[in-house]
Symmetry: C2
Subunit: 495 residues, 2 copies
C-alpha cells in the first residue's frame, strides 16, 4: 500500500506540473508577445522533461509492480494504477534522445507548415514532414512493442487509451455505408425548405462576448474558476479550478464564435466536473479525447444546435445585437445552424459531412505510419480521397492536405477521436433524454440544469474509472456505437 | 571544468523554472479568477520545491567544491560559481520542514493581513505575525550560521547579496543627519513657489494606456518581447524575452499610473539588458534588489520627474487628454511631480521623505529579528518612530504598521534596498550625465537613446559580474554613497 501511495505522490506532482504547462499553453495563445516564442519553447520543454523524468524514474517500475500485488486497492485505486502503468509504459518505451529528436522535428515542421499553408505549397513542407513522420514511426514502433499493439494503435493510445483499429474499422465502415446516401437525402430535404439566411450587420466583439458569457452562465460555467478570452484558434485549457476557454470573433458574423464558445464550454464543464478527490491522479482525468470531444459536441451539436435551444436563444441574440426581421426567427437560425454542404475545410464542416473528413485522414495517416504512403504522395492521395468520399476535389493543398496542424506538429492518431466523440455525444444525449425526458423542454427555457446534472453524474464524476466503452455502457446501456448518431441525424436532417 | 559545466546545466534548469514561476505570478495578479487561488498556490509551491531540490541535490555541494579547484575559469565563470555557492548555502541552510512551515505561516498571515489592514485592526493579525516572525527568525539563524553573518544580514543577503548592517548604518546615518533639516528647507522653498495643481478631468484608461505605451516606446521598451497590463499593484515580472509590466489606472488622475509605468519600465529595461549569453545563470541575473530598484528610480525619479522630461511630455499629455490651461504647462507638472509632503503611506511618498519611511522599517525589523521588539509592540514603536522621524503620527494602523505587505508575507530585509536603490540611481545618473553631458537635453526631446546606451553598457550588460559596490565603482568611480543623492535633492528641491 505504501508503494501505491508513493506512486500517487509522484503522479500528483506530475499532475500539478501538467497544470502549469496547460496555463503556459493558454498564455502562449492569448498573451505571449511574438518575440518570446523561443523562450516559451524552452519553458514548455523543461516542464515536459520534468514530467517525463518523474515517471521514468527507475523506482516507478518497481513501485508499480509492488502496488499491483496489493489486495486492498479499491476500484478507483485499481483503475488509477492501471492508468499509471499505461503512462509509465508510454514514457519508458522511448528514450530521451528520440523524444527530443521528435520534438525538434515537430517544431521545425510546424514552423515551415505555417508559411506553406498560407502559400498552398506542400512541396515546401514535404522534407520536414518526411523527417517528422520518420521520427513518429520510430516512436510508434517502440511504443507498439511496449504496449503489445500495432504501431498506429500505439499512437491512438496516447489520445484514446485502448482504442483498437478494428473498433474504428467497424464504426467507420458503418458510417461510410450510411453517409453518402444520407447526405443526398439531407441535401434534397434541405433544398425543399426555405434557404437559411445569415443575419447581417455589425456585431461588435464586446456584444458577442457578453452574449457568449450569458449562455456560458446558463450552462453553469463558473467565472470564479475560469475565463473566456480571445485566441486565433478556440480551445479549452487550464485546470478544473481555473479553466481557460478561448474563441475568436468575426464582427460580420456572430454565429460562429457563439457556437465555438458553447463547444468549448462543453469541454470546460467536463473538466470542472471531474472528481475532485482524484485531482492530479490519472484516474481523475478525462477518459480520453473521444469522451472529451463528446462533451463539447454534446453541448454544441446535440443541445445547442437544436430547435429548443434556438427557441430560447433567438430572442436573446436579437436583443443583444438589436436585430429585427425574419432572419432572427428561431426557425431561420435553426436552419442556419444545421446547414449541410459538401466542403473542403474540416473545422467548418457540418455534422453530416464531418465524419467523411475524419475517415479520410484516418486512412491516410494509417498508411503513412505503416509506410504504405510516402509523404510526397499525400496531396494526390488526399485529393483522390476527397473525390471518392465527398465528391469534391480541392483546388489547392491549402484547402486540402495542408489545412490541419495535426500531422505537421506530430499529432498522428488524434483525428478518429473527433468522430468517436460525435458518436458518443449522440449516444449520451439520447440516453440522458430517455432517462430525463424533460431535458429538451428545459433547454428550450435556457435551463441546462437537468442535462448538466445527468452529465455530472454519468460522465464527469466518473473520471477515468472506466474506459470509453465501459463509461458508455454504464451511462447508456451499450458500448460506443453509431446508431444513436444515425438516429440523431435522421431526426434532425430528414424530419 | 566538467563540474562547472554540470553546475551550469543545473542552474540553467532552475532558471527556466524560475521564469515559469515569474509568469505564474504575473498571471495570478493579472488574469487568475479568485477561485483558483488554492490551486495556484500548489503550482507555485511545486515550482519552488523543484528549484530547491535542484540545488540541494547532494551532488551540488561536491560539484561546487570540484569547480572551485579549477584554474581555467574566466572572471564571469568565477563570479557565476561564487553566486551558485551563495545560493546553495541559502538553500541547504534550512531543511524542507522549516521552509514549508514558513511558507504556510506566510500564506496564512498574508491572508489575515488583507482583512486586518482594511479594518485597521492590528490585533487580528498579531498572532499569525508572531508565528511568522518566529519562523523567519529560525530561518535567519540557520542561514546566519551557514553564511557567517548576523541573522538580519542573512535575511538582507536574500535580496542584496553581501549587504552588511554596518554599511546600512553608515549610509542611513548620513541621510538621517541630512534629511530633517533638508526637508524643512525644501518645504519652505516649495511654499514660496506657486502651488502645484493637478489637472482635472476624466482620463479614460485607454488614453492613459496609449500615452504610457508611447513613453515606454520612447524608452526603448520592446513590445515584441513584453506587455503592459493592469493589476492591483504595479510590478515587473516575466523573463528578459517576455517582460510583463503592470500598472493600475485612476480615471480621475492620470499622473500616478503614468509615473508607475515609467518606473516599471526602468525595471524592464534592466531585465532586458542583462547579458544574454548568461541567461538563466546566477551571474546573468540582477546584482540585487538595490541595483534593480536603482534602475526603476533612475528612470522615474532622475529622468522622468525632471524638468527636461516634462518639457517633452507635457504637450503629449495635453494632446492625449485634450487638456488646456496653465495646469498643463511643464512648469506646473514639474511642481506636481516633485511635490514634497510629510505623509503616512510609503508608496505614495516623495523622494525626499521616502528614506524616512525606510529607515523606520529597517530599525523595527532589525529589532523584531533580534527579539528586541515583540510583535504586540509594533504599533506603538511604529507610531513613536514616525513621530520622531517625520513629525507625524498615524491615526490608525492602516496608515501605520499595517500598510505594507512585506512583513505579513515574510519579507524581512527587503526595505533597505529601496533607499539604497535611490542612492544608486542618483549616483549612476550623475555619472551618466557627467560622461555624456547631452543626456538631459536629449531627454528634453524624448530621446532616451544616450541614457539607455550608457546604462546598457555600465549597468545592464554587467549582470552580476560585480557586487553592488563593485558595479558602482566601475560605473561611477566610487562605491555606493549618499552624496550624489543629496546633490540631486538640493538641485531639484532648493534651486
Amino acid at each position: 500500500m505504501k508503494a501505491y501511495h508513493e506512486l500517487e505522490a509522484i503522479f500528483r506532482r506530475r499532475g500539478v506540473l501538467g497544470g502549469v504547462q496547460s496555463l503556459l499553453h493558454w498564455d502562449t495563445a492569448v498573451n505571449m508577445p511574438d518575440g518570446a516564442a523561443t523562450v516559451r519553447g524552452e519553458q514548455l520543454a523543461a516542464l515536459k522533461v520534468l514530467q517525463h523524468e518523474l515517471i521514468t524514474d527507475p523506482r516507478v517500475g518497481a513501485l508499480i509492480e509492488a502496488a499491483a500485488g496489493v489486495d486492498g486497492l479499491d476500484p478507483w485505486q485499481r483503475a488509477n494504477l492501471r492508468k499509471m502503468r499505461r503512462r509509465w509504459l508510454h514514457a519508458t518505451a522511448v528514450d530521451p534522445t528520440l523524444i527530443e529528436a521528435e520534438t525538434r522535428a515537430a517544431t521545425e515542421c510546424e514552423m515551415i507548415w505555417r508559411g506553406a499553408r498560407k502559400d498552398a505549397d506542400f512541396a515546401r513542407v514535404a522534407p520536414a514532414l518526411t523527417i517528422l513522420v520518420e521520427r513518429v514511426r520510430e516512436t510508434a514502433a517502440r511504443k507498439a512493442d511496449a504496449l503489445g499493439v500495432s504501431p498506429y494503435e500505439a499512437l491512438l493510445d496516447q489520445y484514446e487509451p485502448g482504442l483498437a483499429t478494428a473498433r474504428i474499422d467497424t464504426l467507420f465502415a458503418d458510417l461510410e455505408a450510411f453517409l453518402p446516401d444520407f447526405l443526398e437525402r439531407a441535401l434534397a430535404h434541405q433544398n425543399r425548405r426555405p434557404p437559411a439566411v445569415a443575419p447581417t450587420g455589425h456585431f461588435p466583439v464586446e456584444k458577442q462576448r457578453a452574449l457568449g458569457v450569458r449562455f456560458m452562465q446558463a450552462l453553469g460555467f463558473d467565472f470564479e474558476g475560469g475565463r473566456l478570452d480571445i485566441s486565433h484558434h478556440p480551445f479549452c485549457s487550464g485546470v478544473p479550478e481555473d479553466i481557460r476557454i478561448t474563441t475568436r470573433y468575426d464582427e460580420a458574423d456572430f454565429t460562429s464564435a457563439l457556437m465555438g464558445v458553447l463547444h468549448e464550454t462543453g469541454h470546460a464543464l467536463y473538466e470542472k466536473g471531474l472528481p475532485e478527490v482524484w485531482r492530479n491522479q490519472p484516474v481523475g482525468g478525462a477518459v480520453g479525447m473521444a469522451v472529451h470531444e463528446s462533451q463539447s459536441l454534446l453541448i454544441e451539436m446535440q443541445a445547442c444546435r437544436s430547435r429548443p435551444f434556438l427557441d430560447y436563444a433567438a430572442p436573446l441574440m436579437r436583443e443583444a445585437f438589436g436585430g429585427h426581421g425574419p432572419d432572427w426567427e428561431p426557425e431561420n437560425l435553426f436552419r442556419l445552424y444545421t446547414h449541410v454542404a459538401r466542403s473542403f475545410i474540416r473545422v467548418d464542416a457540418d455534422e453530416v459531412t464531418y465524419p467523411a473528413h475524419v475517415i479520410l485522414r484516418d486512412r491516410l495517416e494509417r498508411d503513412l505510419i505503416a509506410g504504405r504512403l510516402a509523404v510526397a504522395d499525400i496531396p494526390a492521395a488526399w485529393n483522390d480521397g476527397m473525390g471518392a468520399i465527398l465528391g469534391i476535389v480541392p483546388a489547392n493543398d491549402a484547402e486540402g492536405c495542408l489545412q490541419d496542424i495535426h500531422w505537421y506538429s506530430g499529432g498522428f492518431g488524434y483525428f478518429p477521436t473527433y468522430t468517436l466523440g460525435a458518436l458518443a455525444a449522440a449516444q449520451l444525449f439520447q440516453a440522458a433524454c430517455r432517462t430525463v425526458p424533460a431535458i429538451p423542454a428545459a433547454i428550450g427555457r435556457g435551463d441546462f440544469g437537468p442535462l448538466i446534472a445527468w452529465l455530472r453524474h454519468h460522465v464527469h464524476a466518473k473520471g477515468s474509472l472506466h474506459d470509453t466503452d465501459g463509461l458508455l455502457r454504464e451511462a447508456t446501456g451499450e458500448p460506443l456505437g453509431a446508431s444513436a448518431f444515425k438516429a440523431h441525424l435522421a431526426s434532425r436532417y430528414l424530419a
